[in-house]
């Protein structure tokens, strides 16, 4: 079981196009970066000196995500040759909602996910409002944008610093940092400074005690030798890890004010909102939104730019299927999904124009999932949820996940921040275009070669794009609060619409931070007859379909370098780049030796 790291030429047996064997092999030292202001562009790939390691690699459980996910990978010659992603939990949300009221669905369905409950509430509200034949008042629309936006900020900040960053930042390495040099470095890369002396002392005290707490079983020593930051940058990032905890809490305070509590807000119901925007409360949320916007601009974005050059190799893998869906989020007064601040659209590399989404093209199938039905693709309006765990258990060849295979027009699509931004980018959203182009030109400079939009289709791109989105939403939040104040001033203060009918049906197509979210309700006599939900991670961690076509995350794992079967850090980074919202499992295995590598999270975790 020992980790092998054989220094031979990688043969790329998997036929992957993500080989990153062309590497300088240069490691940046602390001296290099701390010695000068702008030397932070190693651009080195540290790991791929060539490896023929093969075998199964399993990550189970995948950490720092929502839910239980298992990744099973088959590694051949140092890269992932095949992957199976599975979710390990069935909860049965749709079944619990049957027979209850649309308002209950808005409350209960939030419990699908404690990270994006507001999105579920709003998708459930849309489904309920369509069933009721109503549209919410203008002020309620703005208030929902504010609650939803606050949740996006909370989620993205927490995700980047507190969940994903530990794949790139080693806080224990920060013990070696010189706090004075860290201050110089922070100023030179344009990010905010902190009391680095006090932080180092705190970390030293922690280390001195000897108990590792959340760093227990860490992968900082993976054979991939993948942690590349100089100690000073590790110290800066650790300081901002702690600040991020404050900022995500501040974002949640906005939800707490507008929605009563977070997770699981209470004020959004089919018809509008129960929240009454008084002067005092408007002031409370405006102040917080401004504080977050400033922090994102002065800390989060510069940090992204400071860290990225050390991990340009991460841009070489994790592409995925190259097809993107977004149902759109943040309504404008027009209420047109194609006109949303982050618009609805379907887009693929090589396809050109953004297409408007068609609900009829959505299908789910379960040939490889733990469900009883025929396994044929059906539209969710016809779909049923009939769980059945196979007697013979899970297997790579058979059924291996609680997640259903979601398809659009018969093909797997990626959902999430990258999808939303690519749709907006190709819709000529000026903010998104400007900032993404600027990011790409910065990365091109660091990499010494021109990186186009296609570079975003990678583990690094997916990660960086989400931070650009954070900045966009932080900016919009302040605008929305001002828009609300203007609306109230002009007498536009209605916040609730009563149902016109208690019979009907409809789909709420919206976005969670993790991507396209779909709730469908059929209502009779104000009771839910049928409910179906497709969450973002259902798209991303989708298993194979009847044709054997892999889901987006499975596809993204192909070609990812693995040099430590027990600590496949690059695979973990790739999984995290999707910000999966479900526990599910990914396995890697190697036909030659029969060894496999698995990461497990559970797709069942979502419903």
């Amino acid at each position: 079981m020992a980790v092998e790291a054989i220094d031979t030429e990688a043969t790329d047996a998997a036929g992957s196009d993500t080989s990153n064997t062309e590497t300088s092999g240069v490691e940046t030292t602390a001296a290099e970066i701390t010695g000068g202001a702008t030397t932070a562009s190693p651009g080195a790939v540290r790991t791929s000196t060539g490896s023929t390691i093969s075998g199964q690699s399993v990550i189970d459980p995948v950490n720092r995500i929502e839910g239980h996910l298992r990744i099973d990978m088959q590694v051949e010659n140092g890269v992932v040759a095949d992957a199976w992603v599975s979710g390990g939990l069935f909860r049965g949300m749709e079944l619990v909602l049957q027979g209850r009221e649309p308002a209950d669905a808005a409350y209960i369905s939030q419990r699908i996910c404690g990270v994006c409950p507001v999105s579920h509430a709003h998708a459930a509200c849309f489904a309920g409002e369509k069933s009721y034949g109503i549209e919410i008042p203008n002020a309620a629309r703005i208030i929902r944008n504010i609650g939803e936006g606050a949740q996006f900020l909370h989620s993205h900040i927490l995700w980047f610093y507190n969940l994903a960053a530990l794949d790139y930042v080693n806080p224990l390495n920060a013990l070696k940092a010189d706090p004075a040099d860290a201050t110089d470095l922070a100023m030179s890369v344009g990010t905010s400074t902190a009391d680095f002396f006090a932080l180092k002392e705190r970390l030293a005290g922690f280390a001195d005690n000897g108990q590792l707490s959340i760093f227990s079983g860490n992968w900082f020593d993976t054979a991939d030798n993948a942690y590349a930051l100089p100690p000073e940058l590790d110290l800066i990032a650790t300081a901002h890890y702690l600040e991020a905890l404050e900022m995500q809490a501040t974002a949640s305070e906005i939800c707490g004010i507008v929605g009563g509590k977070m997770p699981h807000i209470m004020s959004s119901l089919p018809g509008g909102t129960t929240w009454v925007p008084t002067e005092e409360k408007l002031d409370d949320i405006l102040f917080r939104a401004q504080r977050i916007k400033e922090w994102v601009a002065k800390t989060m974005l510069p940090d992204t730019l400071a860290i990225a050059p050390f991990y340009l190799d991460v841009a070489a893998y994790g592409k995925g299927v190259g097809r993107y869906i977004a149902w759109g989020v943040f309504d404008r007064a027009s209420r047109d999904p194609l006109d949303r601040y982050l618009p609805a659209g379907v887009w693929s590399f090589g396809d050109g124009a953004v297409q408007p989404p068609e609900e009829a093209l959505i299908t789910e199938e379960t040939p490889r999932s733990f469900y009883k039905d025929s396994g044929l693709p059906v539209n969710p309006r016809q779909g049923i949820t009939e769980p059945q765990y196979p007697k013979e258990g899970a297997s790579r060849e058979g059924r291996y996940t609680w997640d259903k295979a979601a398809r659009y027009g018969g093909l797997p699509y990626e959902a999430g921040g990258l999808s939303r931004l690519l749709v907006a980018y190709n819709n000529n959203n000026s903010f998104v275009k400007e900032n993404l182009d600027s990011l790409l030109s910065y990365l091109s400079e660091k990499a010494g070669s021109t990186l186009g939009v296609e570079a975003l289709a990678s583990t690094l791109g997916r990660t960086a794009a989400r931070n650009i989105e954070t900045y966009y939403i932080a900016t919009l939040m302040v605008e929305w609060i001002q828009e609300l104040i203007e609306a109230l001033r002009s007498g536009d203060s209605s916040t609730f619409t009563e149902p016109l009918s208690h019979d009907g049906e409809g789909a709420g197509m919206w976005e969670a931070p993790r991507g396209a979210l779909y709730h469908y309700a059929k209502v009779r006599g104000n009771k839910i007859e049928k409910y179906q939900i497709i969450i973002p991670s259902t798209w991303n961690i989708s298993p194979r379909d009847a044709q054997g076509v892999r889901g987006p995350m499975e596809e993204a794992l192909i070609g990812v370098p693995v040099h430590d079967l027990k600590k496949p850090i690059h695979a973990l980074r790739t999984v995290h780049s999707f910000d999966p919202c479900v526990a599910c499992a990914v396995h890697i295995s190697e036909p030659a030796t029969g060894k496999t590598f698995s990461t497990v999270t559970s797709p069942w975790g979502v419903k």
Binding site: D60, R91, K261
Partner: protein, 538 residues
């Protein structure tokens, strides 16, 4: 090897059967640096211990455990191969298990203010296993958990429900069933803290039809013990609400870490101080309730005036938690302040099936509309006196409360007039409903009931009236029940209703309230006296 676990008994030997991780201690080690021995020595050095002292310590451990001195090198090796660092230090070891959960309780803990989450995991507890927070993943993370369990005497936090569906396969983590994981992790825990309503009684996942077989931790462990799979159950602290309020968790931590004791618990193993009073007791809108000032419609003038949300279905009167006091998200707000009726998410009772907060309280906007209980939908008028009279129970309690505090003479009149409905814009709900109610009580529609005076009645009179009403309501219950339940289950339930109904009796000045409830499957009828908030302990 059978030494009793205690965190004060020194280093513990990792058993030989333990799977060995490849990683060593990583404190202050750079990526790819030399193997673990060096790092471990560094730690010892930092703590003023040299390697010789360390080996002497190992020898001492061997002697303590009655092992041969030849084992010393192996003990040393076991300690050096730790992935959790030192097994003893100033931090109390802790494991945080996520089962069938939405991660909302972890998310919620991340919002803690004083102390913040970083202080908790760096300065208070050594959280060696937490899927959402841990740096490690997969095998090495499982290893960390295993070593923590071996070392013993850790706090075990459990978030989410256990799933018994498909023989436990509805929840699998790291190729193990959730049920097995919990049995193992519970074996050597100092105490188990069930975080959030799901861990307490299954939460929403246990709501009808409970498709995954959700169950709370305490009831599951009781079953496991009865089946002989585990020997003992550590002390359990239930901390409901959905999600868990971080302030509640911190209160528990303060008890355990700073005061070295378990908090005082009520009969449901909840911290008594936190879950001793109803939301209604401490609600800032309580005054509007007393004045009969209610919101009848969202978006209305009454809503803008922050009137009481009882008429919109607020479950505050029947839900025990101190939300109005501690509030949420660093005290920035709480449900009722955002204009939403309390959904009763703190209602969790691990001792009874079907008492999850969703089945108990949905429809959440329902007051006298429909009260769902499992698959059963109960007629609105029936509920006022009926079998699932949770709302009614609360109101009666409230009546006693008013009586006890001298606010009304002779106790509240059990809503005979429904004072809060008088101002209802819909006549059918307001004056007309009150007239209908009065007629019923006077015996015109409900002939067996004792005629009541509208005001100034004694509580015991109320009790008689409601008991009579309960007995007479079986026909309505039957009609409502048939909609959703099988005929046999309905019959069984209605039979029980007829016998027990819902009664309020006053004895020696202490009210005793009987409530009768069914599980979602309709097969179990539960009935017991519940304690009045005014009774006994105040």
């Amino acid at each position: 090897m059978a030494a009793k676990p205690s965190r004060f008994s020194g280093f513990r030997l990792a058993p030989s059967g333990l799977k060995r991780p490849t990683a060593g201690l990583c404190v202050s080690s750079a990526p790819g640096s030399a193997p673990s021995t060096e790092n471990f020595d560094q730690i010892l050095e930092q703590r003023g211990v040299n390697r010789r002292d360390f080996l002497k310590l190992c020898a001492g451990i061997a002697a303590t455990l009655g092992l041969s001195q030849a084992m010393v090198p192996q003990i040393a090796e076991a300690l050096e191969e730790s992935v959790i660092g030192a097994t003893q230090g100033k931090l109390v070891p802790a494991i945080w298990l996520e089962l069938a959960s939405c991660t909302g309780c972890t998310e919620s803990l991340a919002q803690a203010e004083t102390p913040d989450i970083a202080t908790i995991v760096l300065d208070m507890i050594s959280l060696t296993y937490a899927e959402t927070l841990s740096a490690g993943a997969g095998f090495s993370l499982e290893e960390a958990k295993e070593q923590t369990i071996e070392a013993g005497d850790y706090l075990l936090f459990i978030e989410g429900a256990l799933m018994e569906g498909w023989d436990g396969n509805a929840l699998r983590i790291a190729d193990e069933k959730g049920t097995e994981i919990v049995e193992h992790a519970a074996s050597r825990a100092l105490a188990i803290i069930c975080v959030g309503s799901c861990a307490v009684d299954g939460g929403w996942q246990a709501a009808y039809p409970n498709p995954g077989g959700a169950i709370g931790i305490a009831p599951y462990l009781e079953k496991a013990k009865a089946a002989g799979r585990i020997e003992t159950i550590p002390p359990i602290i239930n901390v409901p609400t959905c999600p868990s309020n971080p302030e509640h968790l911190i209160a528990v931590l303060v008890d355990v870490l700073l005061l070295s004791r378990l908090p005082e618990l009520n009969s449901l193993s909840e911290p008594a101080l936190i879950f001793g009073q109803t939301i209604h007791d401490n609600c800032p809108r309580r005054g509007h309730f007393e004045n009969g000032e209610f919101v009848y419609k969202f978006g209305s003038k009454e809503e803008a005036q922050s009137y009481c949300l009882y008429a919109m279905g607020c479950k505050g009167p029947q839900t025990k938690a101190n939300c109005p006091i501690v509030r949420w998200n660093r005290r920035s707000g709480w449900c009722v302040e955002s204009g939403a009726p309390c959904a009763g998410c703190a209602s969790a009772d691990p001792t009874k099936q079907g008492f999850n907060w969703v089945d108990l309280n949905a429809p959440f906007l329902g007051r006298f509309k429909n009260v769902g209980l499992g698959g059963l939908s109960i007629d609105p008028t029936f509920i006022a006196y009926g079998v699932a009279g949770v709302v009614a129970v609360a109101l009666v309690i409230h009546g006693f409360g008013m009586k006890a505090t001298g606010r009304t003479k002779g106790g509240a009149p059990f809503e005979l007039e429904r004072a809060w409905d008088k101002k209802h814009p819909d006549e059918a709900v307001g004056a007309a409903a009150a007239a209908k109610e009065a007629a019923r009580v006077e015996g015109r529609e409900w002939p067996s009931g004792k005629t009541e005076q509208a005001q100034g009645t004694d509580a015991s009179d109320d009790a008689t009236a409601s008991k009579g009403a309960g007995a007479n309501s079986s026909a309505k219950a039957d009609a409502a029940g048939k909609d959703a339940m099988s005929a046999s289950a309905t019959a069984a339930q209605v039979g029980a209703v007829e016998q027990e109904g819902f009664a309020v009796v006053e004895e020696e000045g202490e009210p005793e309230i009987l409530e009768t409830l069914t599980t979602p499957t309709g097969t179990v009828i539960y009935e017991e006296p519940i304690e009045s908030e005014e009774g006994g302990d105040r």
